[in-house]
């Protein structure tokens, strides 16, 4: 569109392109800097106060970025980046953003030296692929039977969170629950939705437990004095309502005679009584009732009859939980009263209401032929701690899931980053021209991880990074920063390990994001 004779304007145009790129990179770098201090076991927390007065204290990169509501488009890409790392690996959400920021910084330097963006982009891609190869070469294969290694990986992931002091309690929980829901024949199809985490405030995190069975946050319905404990339970999961029926359309029952009034009452009683009798006849003694928006899922009268029939009732089961419950209890959801058959019921030894802090929960234990599901009951002294514990446990679960899908461990404590740095440097010498230059820059960018880790731990970053580099150069490929001891040690011996998948996905995702940002040369706002 620009006319060739306006040379003056062409020049301006390219300056603008440069500006756009610089602003994008700057904005993205700032985002990375924002989360940098929360990296690693000694990272700090962020407090986010939303306009409605809610406060979140967290250490989880994905959560921080999501809550920050950045507006700059390129900065938003970093938020997305952290989210996708959360989806793929579940952990390393802070690292991925920090690495991306460091890579962008290097890009800026390269651009200033006159390297074309496309060249940078392609060389970074090659470097990332090579880095993944290097990672695979230093990875240690892990056997799923080896509970000890899994525990170590979970503990490493928990170490940076507020709840780190409880990692001896939470990591076995994470490992056991993932192993429980895993199908040994099809380990790839691991669904974390099969692990139900119930949060209940009150008590401390020490009181958290993994329940062999299922836990409901609700109380049993006891307005009519129904039972709160049932041995040898036969559990029916119903999706219909036990309340006076309502036709689809607006309707009126018309009474024209006083004798009919009694009939109206009696009919209602009989209708509900019949339903309860049918339920009783199937042998069911614990009833889980799905929440209904159309009408009362269960009326007062029905509760009264159910209590008289000694049936324990749990109301307000969410629609989304039905699948999990039926899988766990090995029962079938019942959609109509006529389908109430004994073979559709689930069997369990004990169903009981247990006091739990200020409220209470219902526990079902001793389930017969239970499906591959797990339930964790998390406790915490206040909502902030509880929410953070939930997020941390989720990260630990994801770490174990990563290990199940890709069974390799690599050392933690910035050891792999340093190893990649060195090996890429060597590799770059075999390359020619710009490419070699860019790969070296890529390698240098990765030093941000050990640097930040040391900085956050209150150590001298320059001393630590140089020492680490020399040790890696001397062939100690597992050497890393041991934050607990404030020294450099062998990370495998120190039992700080993480899944391979977390780091490879962080590297590839960060590189892709950088390439994307590099290629943008204009922002066009569209109304």
């Amino acid at each position: 569109m620009a006319q060739p004779k306006q040379k003056h304007e062409m020049y301006k145009e390219s300056a603008r392109k440069k500006d756009v790129r610089t602003t994008n990179i700057e904005a993205a770098k700032v985002v990375a800097d924002a989360v940098r201090t929360s990296l690693g076991p000694k990272g700090m927390d962020k407090m986010v106060a939303s306009p409605d007065g809610q406060v979140i204290i967290t250490n989880d990169g994905a959560t921080i970025l999501q809550k920050m509501t950045v507006v700059q488009p390129a900065a938003k890409m970093l938020v997305e980046l952290s989210k996708s790392q959360d989806v793929v690996a579940g952990d390393g959400t802070t690292s991925v953003v920090v690495i991306c920021g460091a890579l962008l910084k290097k890009c800026q330097e390269l651009l200033a030296q006159g390297v074309h963006p496309t060249v940078i982009s392609d060389s970074f891609n090659k470097a990332a692929n090579k880095a993944c190869e290097i990672l695979e070469s230093i990875a240690i294969p892990v056997n799923l039977e080896d509970r000890e290694s899994l525990l170590r990986a979970a503990t490493t992931s928990l170490s940076s969170k507020v709840v780190s002091q409880y990692s001896s309690l939470l990591s076995p929980m994470a490992v056991d629950s993932v192993l429980k829901v895993m199908d040994p024949n099809r380990p790839g199809l691991l669904d974390l939705r099969d692990i139900r985490v119930v949060c209940k405030s009150g008590g401390t995190i020490d009181d958290s437990e993994m329940v062999d069975g299922i836990v409901f946050d609700q109380k049993t319905a006891k307005t009519a004095g129904g039972p709160t404990r049932m041995d040898n339970a036969k559990i029916g999961l119903i999706q219909f309502q036990i309340s006076p029926p309502k036709p689809d359309m607006e309707n009126n029952v018309i009474v024209s005679d006083y004798t009919q009034m009694d009939r109206v009452y009696k009919e209602e009683r009989n209708y509900i009584l019949n339903a309860v009798k049918k339920i009783k006849a199937s042998g069911c003694n614990v009833l889980l009732i799905q929440k209904s928006i159309l009408r009362d899922a269960v009326s007062e009268l029905a509760l009264h009859y159910l209590a008289k029939a000694k049936i324990l009732v749990i109301r307000d089961i969410e629609r989304d939980d039905i699948e999990f419950i039926s899988k766990t209890l090995n029962c079938l959801p019942i959609a109509h009263i006529d389908h109430m058959k004994p073979e559709k019921l689930g069997l369990a030894k004990i169903v009981e209401e247990v006091d739990c802090g200020k409220g209470s929960v219902v526990k079902i234990t001793g389930i017969e032929n239970s499906g591959r599901t797990a339930t964790v009951l998390l406790r915490g002294s206040n909502k902030l701690v509880l929410e953070e514990a939930d997020r941390s446990l989720h990260d630990a679960l994801c770490v174990i899931r990563c290990l199940v899908t890709k069974r390799f461990l690599i050392p933690g404590g910035a050891s792999p980053e340093m190893e990649i740095d060195l090996q890429l440097n060597d590799w770059s010498r075999t390359l020619q021209g710009m490419e070699s230059f860019c790969v070296r820059a890529f390698a240098q960018a990765l030093e941000v991880v050990p640097y930040t880790l040391a900085e956050n731990a209150g150590l001298n970053p320059i001393r630590i990074v140089t020492e680490l580099r020399s040790m890696h150069a001397a062939g100690q490929k597992y050497a890393g920063i041991n934050v607990k001891k404030n020294a450099i040690t062998d990370m495998v011996e120190a039992k700080v390990v993480q899944p391979l998948l977390v780091t490879t996905s962080a590297l590839t995702l960060a590189t892709e994001c950088v390439r994307m940002i590099l290629k943008i040369d204009d922002i066009v706002p569209v109304r």
Binding site: D45, A75, P244, V255, D257, L301, G458
Partner: protein, 550 residues
Amino acid sequence: MSVAMAAGSRLQLHGERQSGQDVRTQNVTAVSAVANIVKSSLGPVGLDKMLVDDIGDVTVTNDGATILKLLEIEHPAAKILVELAELQDAEVGDGTTSVVILAAEFLKRANELVRNKLHPTNIINGFRQAMRESCKFINRELAISTENIDNESLLNAAKTSMSSKIVGVEGDFFAQLVVDSIRAVKSVDEITERVRYPVKAVSVLKAHGKSARESRLLDGYALNLSRAAQGMPRRVVNAKIACLDMNLQKARLMMGVQVLVTDPAELEKIRARELDITKERIQKILASGANVVLTTKGIDDMALKYFVEAGVLAIRRVEKDDLKRIARATGATIVVTLADMEGNETFDPACLGTAAEVLEERISDDSITMIRGCESTKAVTLLLRGANDYMLDEMDRSIHDSLCVVKRVLESNSVVPGGGCVETALSVHLESFASNLGSKEQLAIREFANALLVLPKTLAVNAAKDATELVAALRSAHYQAQNDATGESKDLAHQGLDLIQGKIRDNFKAGVLEPSLSKTKMIQFATEAAITILRIDDLIRLDPSPEADQ
């Protein structure tokens, strides 16, 4: 990378962001401000606060948790402190002021350390170590086990918790009331066989008039309600109580049922039937032999007539919680509906509860209904008297605190001397503990030890005594007790402040006792809260979403 903080301003988001030292200092300032508010109400000579809300309701209180709850604090870090007080209130019930003051002091000192270039993570580690060591030390050295608890120590613990409150003047009197009432509600869990003392089972009634000394413990359960109609008897002996959770009003057909009549005579019949349905229900209840009827819902004038005729005492609009407790105490079952398994309506006499006597009493201007001689006496009522509402409310809160304290003593079986004794002993111990460590954490632990002294200091300042001198004397006594090989000055370990005389004395002998659980929890919670705030190095305040103006 050093420009990271400066770059923070360039981060474009809907809101403002602060990071690094700014946030820490700001948080500490906010937290200290909150602590300063409650500081002057600590201890037996602490003063009260009067809080007036936007509609003019007045609360006069000395209770830290109550003050903070009413303050409507906005600063996120200060909010953590409010939650901390609430947590202490829920878990222990007492020590809410101390925990807030302690947490703020920890933070203040931690911030100083950060300014002196000690990394927050080192401080956090040090604080955690100090906290663990303190709890161990309390349980190992300071706690005095009261295996078979004598009345004396219970009374003393109750008195100590009251000493700072408005009822403190009549400490002996109220301590006795509290101990008696908590003993009366003792119950044993059937499955776990654990002895429990449910504070909730003590119901507290407040009545205007007379002096606080006229407060008394009523035997049986008191309801702040009178009978539904004047014609009913005032007193029923050998009561058979029906607990209902249903309406005894003119029957109304359910929604979606329309009455359509062509003949005016029919209309009359329908009206009559509406009345009859309720009448039949009442008759069924009466036929079972009930002579006291309690319902959570209403009773029509029309329906009252039947009760009056039968000479039955009926009370309407009973609180559901009250009804549940009455049902438990009298052995009744709460009835929601009369429907039976045949689809008809009957009232099962097995649902009735029994009590020796139900009678209406007048206390000043109010009438209350007493239920006496229940099957199990697991419910008692404390009747509080006082000059005005504010005083009664404050008395209620103080009594609640004391009830919690006595309950904790009974459950945990151990007490510690109060009056700054524990804090000073811990401080002295942690100082020597810190000296044995060779790492950076040493500094943090030492500051932790110093921070603990804020409690005895504040106690002394509030009592207008020379804090510096008293605390120094206290420290030297504890130092002697802990570094004594011969065991001669062992009893110095119980030295605490005597705030009336302005001296130090043996607080164990003087009977100033607190449950040891209260102290350990206080230190744990305060440390946890301080760490939570200390870990924050970034505060992002989001603006309301801009969608509204688009």
